[in-house]
């Protein structure tokens, strides 16, 4: 697991408001290519919002976000470019129920990357094999279990060959047996050196693959550290409290 010096994401003094509610306050974050960052924090602390700002599902109102050297502004072209570089997995998978698994995976490559269908399907099958469900390619999402669906969602993002992957609580809607399937897939991804930002409460996963854990509270980054240090030796009061709750049971 190597981390280069190249900067993948550079967030500077980013602020965001919902109406008058200040959700994100002066976020400063630099992510290097190949880093695997886990973001933790209590509910409502702004983790999802931050992640969603990175591929412009939400608009930030102050500060700057530079992804892969492109600054996120309201310029549509930049947004398109960034979105095709950054893959995202949602808590509720959000597969397209009217398309087969294979079609779900080839949709974006065909229409965004303008790749011939045949080639797109080959790529898709490749990634479906990687997430271990090639045999489901011609079923519909409704026919799969939750864990399988989430793995399809990951494969769907990978088909766009993104350089950065964002995960927003990818396992929290799953039954315990299925969580493992998905985490395994993510670990595998991490081992291949994908740059990853992952909001999750799976602390086991954080220990195993993250090289940095970021703790957020009340819209701010309160603490960040290597996983070992973070778990064994939290410094901020909020972090200690949070960890005691999370690891308590």
């Amino acid at each position: 697991m190597k981390v280069s010096d190249e900067v993948a994401i550079q967030i500077t003094k980013m602020n965001k408001w919902y109406g008058t509610f200040h959700v994100l306050r002066d976020i400063d974050l630099t992510v290097y290519r190949g880093e695997r960052i886990v973001i933790a924090g209590p509910s409502g602390s702004g983790k999802s919002t931050m992640i969603r700002c990175i591929n412009r599902l939400e608009e930030h109102q102050a500060g700057s976000i530079v992804v892969d050297g492109i600054e996120l502004s309201s310029d549509l072209k930049n947004i398109d470019k960034i979105r095709s570089e950054v893959g995202m997995c949602f808590q509720h998978f959000n597969l397209f129920p009217h398309l087969t698994i294979l079609e779900n995976c080839t949709l974006a490559p065909i229409w965004v990357r303008k790749i011939p269908k045949k080639q797109a399907e080959e790529t898709a099958m490749h990634f479906l094999e990687k997430v271990k469900i090639p045999e489901q390619a011609h079923k519909y999402p409704g026919q799969l279990s939750g864990g399988q669906q989430q793995r399809v969602a990951i494969a769907r993002s990978l088909c766009m060959k993104p350089r950065i992957m964002l995960f927003d609580e990818p396992t929290s809607a799953l039954d315990p047996e299925m969580i493992k399937e998905v985490l395994d897939t993510m670990v595998e991804l991490a081992e291949e050196g994908m740059t990853m930002l992952c909001v999750t409460h799976e602390m086991g996963f954080a220990r195993q693959v993250a090289n940095r854990v970021i703790f957020m509270d009340a819209g701010q980054i309160v603490e960040q550290n290597e996983p070992e240090e973070f778990f064994n030796n939290p410094r901020h009061e909020r972090t200690k409290l949070f960890l005691s709750q999370i690891l308590g049971h």
Partner: protein
């Protein structure tokens, strides 16, 4: 930790940041206007177009409505007043027709000195539906709902009080058979008896009994003939009795449609589809032109009653579909749990399934009622004087010949207020049900 960047690691915030206000252009009226009205050229275009539409409509409508004349005894006089006030050729409303005729539009030809009766009836009606529509109202009030139809009937039509009382007795007999005879003779038989005996009672005994009672203790209100009812009173009577009467029939049809007994199922389906497949106006003409053919020679009851019968059958088909939706929305487990506890079909329906299914169906029933209420205007084509029919009659008098928009505006507004609030209510209920279901 060779793979980690030293400079990125180990950040701890010492001072927590406070909530700040967003930049000025991100809040308040400025932002609202920018985002809601003028974001992008398409939006600007739409905004301007809409403003123009609003202006065009209001600039015609407002002066006409506001300049309206409220006191005049006929159209000619009204036109003179307008010409006098605003100069000849000004268009202004003659609201005077409403000042003079609004009681007719609302009550039809109901005797003026008896207006309190429909009004009281309406209040009782509101009290009666309250426990059905609002779960906050005490359940005891359901007794009011059960008795209301008889009281309302008596209040509106008048006549002897013993008629409704004798009619209630039929239900009491049915209920008594169900509760006391059922353990001895089995439910199925009891149900059949509970239907047949009261029917027999109503057809044969009820009339003489109430006459006899009336001759002993005459308790009666002045009778008002159906021909005297018109306007919104008529619309409400037809709408409400249509819905209320169609509920039991609709429920039976819904159960029939869910049944796996072939004949009963097919019969229910056929009934529902035939009724729904043909426009209400055709059914109304059937009521007015044909119903007498189907009844024994010599029977003949008044048009409004026939219309109510037809409307009841009509809305029963729609209610059946609504209730079927409610039944289908119940998880299968509820049926199974009732079975497993040893409840038979009728008991499980009455105690477990229907209370839940009906609750889910209330929004749908309210919507059906709105539709029906609007459709009561169709009775004008068979000669009943609903609000629209009355407006034609009013225009047929020499005084108000030629008055047009004022009446329609009034009628339209009345319908709108009523239907809109009912619609909102059913929406609210749907949302509440959705919340509770989660």
């Amino acid at each position: 930790m060779s793979d980690t960047h030293a400079q990125t690691v180990a950040f701890v915030r010492d001072t927590m940041l406070d909530q700040k206000d967003p930049p000025l252009n991100q809040v308040g009226a400025v932002k609202w206007i920018r985002e809601n009205l003028f974001s992008g050229w398409l939006n600007i275009l739409l905004t301007l177009a809409s403003l123009w539409v609003v202006y065009a409509v209001l600039s015609h409508l407002l002066p006409w409505a506001l300049r309206g004349v409220w006191d005049a005894s006929n159209l000619t006089q009204c036109r003179e007043i307008i010409a006098e006030r605003y100069g000849a050729g000004t268009s202004a409303a003659c609201w005077a027709v409403l000042t003079e005729r609004w009681p007719q539009l609302i009550f039809g030809f109901y005797p003026k000195e008896l207006y309190w009766r429909p009004i009281l009836a309406f209040l009782i009606f509101l009290a009666a539906v309250a426990p059905v529509l609002f779960s906050a109202v005490p359940r005891k009030m359901l007794w009011v709902s059960a008795l209301a139809p008889f009281v309302l009937f008596w209040l509106i039509w008048g006549g002897s009080l013993w008629g409704p009382i004798a009619a209630i007795l039929g239900f009491v007999i049915g209920w008594a058979i169900l509760t006391f005879a059922a353990p001895k003779i089995g439910t199925l038989l009891a149900v059949i008896l509970a239907i047949v005996v009261p029917l027999f009672y109503w057809l044969v005994i009820c009339g003489p009994l109430s006459d006899a009672l009336a001759s002993v203790v005459p308790l009666s209100l002045r009778a008002v003939a159906t021909q005297k009812m018109g306007g919104f009173l008529l619309a409400t009577i037809i709408g409400v009795s249509g819905i209320v009467l169609s509920l039991p029939l609709g429920i039976l049809l819904a159960l029939g449609r869910q049944s796996d007994m072939f004949i009963i199922n097919k019969f229910s389906v056929a009934f529902i589809e035939i009724i729904r497949g043909v426009p209400l106006i055709v059914w109304l003409f059937t009521a007015s032109l044909l119903l007498n053919y189907f009844l024994p020679p010599g029977t003949n009851f008044d048009l409004m009653l026939r219309v109510i019968i037809m409307v009841t059958l009509f809305s029963a088909a729609y209610i059946a579909e609504v209730v079927r939706g409610g039944l289908a929305a119940l998880p299968k487990g509820q049926y199974e749990a009732a079975d497993a506890l040893g409840l038979d079909y009728w008991k499980s329906m009455r105690l477990v399934i229907l209370p839940q299914a009906l609750k889910i169906s209330i929004p749908g029933i309210v919507n059906t009622f709105i539709g029906l209420f609007k459709d009561t205007t169709l009775v004008v084509f068979i000669g009943l004087l609903d609000p629209i029919g009355l407006s034609s009659s009013i225009r047929a008098t020499t005084d108000w010949n030629g008055v047009y928009w004022e009446l329609f505006v009034f009628i339209g507004l009345c319908f709108f207020v009523f239907c809109f609030s009912m619609g909102r209510y059913s929406l609210f209920l749907e949302k509440k049900l959705r919340r509770e279901h989660r």
